[in-house]
């Protein structure tokens, strides 16, 4: 029998990790990506990657990493896969080191580690403040090596539109669009791996890259895949507000000693440096003496919201607080944080080595995603998912520097699992559904080109982003979520009257965007309605009307499925695997 054919969609860390394992095992792999894979969103990760290697003599263990991750995620993650990830992490760091990632070093030439949020241990390996870039490049280089040996074929500049499913609902390939010729084609495969990242674009502005629309996940959800824990959206406490996007200011700034503060007096007009120590309020250090500035992100984000909106202490009355590094010497800052300091300097104009940075929370990470089993397979046979596109490693809140690990670990698991599945796969009935799926996608494209209404897709997108950011991020009220859902329904109505100002059939980026937009609207309803149904507060999901965690009712995975006739989601709930660590209250303010 010929080597199984696997298609990987997405060339960030998870996708590349899967490709490497498949190529190494002798599989035959096609890699699809909207952008050249070296430009994938993983490059934006800054601070580092977690593994309990205990090179600082603190007594760190993989069990403590596991416990921090489960506790940080407010017990919503299934524990068995998280445990396995934490146990595999130290060897993955070694592998990345062998691949040439320029990790920061100790004087003895060993890997250096720093502390990140939600832990008391120095567990985060890092390459300056551009760790994601360096890890992505290492995997990209290995994939290029396999590519030059003929084991991998790249399709860069292609957009995934849907899975090709046979008459039994089994995946037999993908349908994709060439973003230059705009031609739609189906590709056969024995298994497909979706590694298409987060869904930041539904919030309009976020720290995510332009390609992070969630379109692939939403397309699969409409084809019958469960979407799990969609309501869990991480809003990063420290982002730089911008006109086109929110730029991340890494947690490593606080890991290296950065302090968050506001002037104690409402309306204090003095420059930051002119405000004496006694007139500054280091509210995180006061409220959370044990973890200080390194509380988990959901906790820090809510604290900043409270200080700005309840105490009215935002800098100059604006929704901003200081993130201060000016007490740390320049050489240390340059050695450990230069990448992010440059971003701030370039986009804001001030030197953060001299002047405290002005930051505010911004949408950052998608904890939810395609539902997968412990083998990383969705409920559609032959469709696997890995990385931020799936839901399984972070529960209700992701700890900083765990995402890079979950992407690489998830990709490494998924590749071999997909091969094992493909080897046992029986031949497809008929043509495997290729002709039918191709016709369906071509029809959708024809409808879009012939649509002659008045609506501009980019304006619909702006309204979606504003609605989602206002109502479905940090503080959630049922009434507002309900209104957001109604607004999305209105936007879906208006989408029917869309007017493509560009109807050409060559490198038509607004055409591709408009197709993504429809999927964004669908997945936004999953996020909003999931939030509406979860009447409790857990991790990143916070409802003032229901301020406590309710394990009896909601220690459950939310699973959304698409009801085609009603054109909306249906919800069910699944028990969470808590066999290793019994759930306990999550209290970062408590002394213990």
């Amino acid at each position: 029998m010929a080597a199984p054919k696997i298609i990987v969609v997405g060339g960030g860390l998870a996708g590349l990790a899967a490709v490497i394992k498949i190529a190494e095992a002798g599989g035959n792999v096609d890699l699809f990506s909207i952008v050249p894979v070296k430009r994938s969103h993983s490059v934006c990760a800054q601070g580092g990657i977690n593994a309990a290697k205990d090179l600082k003599g603190e007594g760190d263990t993989t069990w403590k990493h596991f416990d921090d991750t489960i506790y940080g995620g407010d017990f919503l993650a299934n524990q068995t896969p998280v445990k396995a990830m934490c146990e595999a992490a130290p060897a993955i760091i070694d592998l990345l080191d062998r691949m040439g990632v320029p990790f920061n070093r100790t004087p003895e030439g060993l890997l250096d580690f720093r502390r990140f949020g939600g832990t008391l241990y120095q567990r985060t390996a890092f390459a300056g403040a551009t760790t994601g870039q360096q890890l992505l490049y290492a995997l990209d280089e290995q994939v290029r090596r396999h590519e030059s040996e003929g084991k991998v074929k790249k399709y860069e500049g292609w957009e995934f539109l849907s899975a090709v499913l046979d008459s039994n609902g089994v995946a037999r390939g993908i349908c994709a669009m060439n973003l230059r010729t705009m031609e739609v084609t189906t590709f056969a495969a024995d298994a497909i791996i979706i590694a298409t990242g987060g869904i930041g674009a539904i919030f309009g502005k976020s720290t995510n890259s332009v390609v992070c629309t969630g379109s692939a996940q939403a397309a699969l959800y409409q084809q019958g895949a469960y979407y799990a824990n969609g309501e869990f959206i991480q809003v990063h406490p420290t982002a730089i507000p911008g006109e086109d996007k929110l730029r991340l200011m890494s947690e490593s700034a606080r890991g290296e000693g950065g302090r968050v503060w506001v002037p104690r007096t409402v309306g204090d007009k003095r420059a930051a440096k002119a405000i004496p120590e006694t007139e500054r309020w280091y509210f995180l250090e006061e409220w959370y003496p044990k973890y200080g500035n390194l509380v988990p992100r959901d906790v820090a984000t809510r604290a900043i919201h409270k200080v700005v909106y309840e105490h009215g202490l935002g800098i100059d009355g604006q929704p901003m607080v200081y993130l201060d590094l000016t007490h740390i010497d320049r050489a240390t800052l340059n050695r450990k944080l230069e990448g992010i300091l440059e971003i701030y300097q370039k986009f804001v104009g001030d030197d953060p080595r001299e002047v405290p940075m002005k930051i505010f929370p911004g949408m950052h990470y998608t904890m939810g995603g395609l539902w997968v089993d412990f083998n990383q397979m969705t409920n559609i046979p032959g469709v696997f998912a890995a990385g931020e596109a799936e839901y399984q490693y972070h529960g209700a809140n992701r700890l900083g520097a765990n995402s890079l690990m979950s992407c690489i670990y998830g990709g490494f698991q998924t590749g071999p699992n997909a091969i094992a599945y493909a080897k046992a796969l029986k031949a497809a009935p008929g043509d495997g559904g290729h002709a039918q799926e191709l016709a369906r996608q071509n029809d959708l494209n024809k409808q879009l080109v012939s649509s002659s209404g008045k609506e501009n897709p980019f304006r619909i997108w702006r309204e979606l982003g504003e609605t989602m950011t206002k109502n479905v991020t940090v503080i959630r009220h049922n009434k507002n979520i309900q209104q957001a859902d109604e607004k999305i329904v209105e936007l879906m109505e208006r989408y029917r009257n869309i007017n493509l100002s560009d109807k050409s059939q060559w490198a038509n980026t607004s055409f591709a965007f408009t197709r993504q937009l429809y999927n964004m609207l669908q997945i936004s309803r999953v996020v909003a309605q999931g939030a509406r149904l979860r009447d409790e507060s857990r991790g990143a999901h916070y409802k003032p009307e229901f301020p406590d965690r309710n394990d009896e009712k909601f220690l459950k995975t939310t699973k959304a499925s698409f009801a085609p006739d009603a054109n909306e989601p249906r919800f069910e709930f699944e028990a969470v695997d808590t066999q290793h660590i019994p759930p306990r209250p999550r209290r970062y303010d408590a002394a213990s």
Binding site: I20, K21, E24, V35, P36, K38, R39, S40, H41, V43, C44, A91, D94, L95, D97, R98, M99, G100, P102, F103, N104, T106, P107, E108, G109, A127, T130, Q133, Q134, E141, Q142, R144, R145, E147, S148, R180, S209, V210, V211, G242, E243, D244, K245, R247, L248, R335, G339, K346, F347, N456, F458, R459, S501, D502, S504, W506, A507, N508, T509, S510
Partner: protein, 249 residues
């Protein structure tokens, strides 16, 4: 009072073989705007300065924080990243055109796959034995890391190639970015196993000898890579390799 606006002129081309034209836009000013957000504004309201309806601009972009390397273009005559080109710091009208040394796909989007092909030719990777657990990596002292890290920051934007007078069809020069990656991998404790092959790939036509020391590359690089230093180091290594190979033959 009239709303404050910005003037931007964009060189447009509907496809690789089409002729190009400049189109003018006047769009509302917003604080902190960059060239990308100006183009987002055009997409949301595709009307040019003469009031005619037009199409959104085609351009490459992704991260918008100068780390993915997508949005390189020529802005007011300078090759740079559009995301970090802040409108308030640019002379108006802002003139934006695609990189000139790479085939235009459409409008500002160009095909830079030549760089990725070059990286294959010089085997820009560490040839690990496998991805199974083989224990810890080689010891690397901080001093070595501090040499490697800046070279590893290359975002493949191709600005160094755009501004290089020697980067053209006549020379076939690989350009500074590829040479810097050769230095990076040749200095890695296990990456250096391919050192000789990489140097041979840079000997002869299109290799390091094509560099004319204009030093434009190091000035254009948005990530401040020590490109001229890498070129001179690798030129020396290539020369030595050629001599060694000659003597062995």
């Amino acid at each position: 009072m009239a709303e404050k606006t910005i003037q931007i002129e964009i060189k447009r081309q509907s496809g690789p073989d089409a002729s190009s034209t400049w189109e003018k836009f006047e769009i509302p000013w917003k604080p902190g705007m960059n060239v990308i957000s100006a183009m987002m504004e055009i997409a949301a309201n595709p009307v040019n300065a003469s009031g005619q309806e037009t199409t959104p601009i085609a351009y490459d972009s992704n991260c918008l924080e100068e780390i993915c390397g997508s949005c390189a273009m020529v802005i007011n005559g300078k090759a740079r990243m559009a995301c970090s080109a802040l409108v308030d710091k640019l002379e108006q009208p802002i003139r934006v055109q695609p990189l000139t040394k790479f085939p235009v796909v459409r409008d500002l989007a160009v095909d830079r796959s030549v760089l990725f092909e070059n990286l294959k030719a010089v085997q820009a990777w560490v040839p690990v034995d496998g991805t199974y657990d083989l224990g810890s990596g080689p010891r690397v002292f901080p001093q070595q890391q501090e040499v490697a890290y800046p070279l590893s920051n290359c975002i493949s934007c191709c600005c160094c190639m755009e501004v290089c007078p020697q980067f053209n069809d006549a020379t076939g020069f690989v350009g500074a970015a590829t040479i810097a990656q050769v230095k990076l991998f040749n200095s890695h404790p296990s990456g250096k196993v391919l050192k000789e092959e990489r140097l041979r790939a840079l000997a002869g036509d299109g290799g390091v000898q094509e560099c004319g020391f204009a030093q434009n590359c190091v000035q254009a690089c948005p990530k401040q890579l020590p490109l001229t230093e890498a070129i001179s180091d690798i030129t020396r290594d290539v020369t030595l390799q050629v001599a060694k190979d000659f003597l062995r033959a």
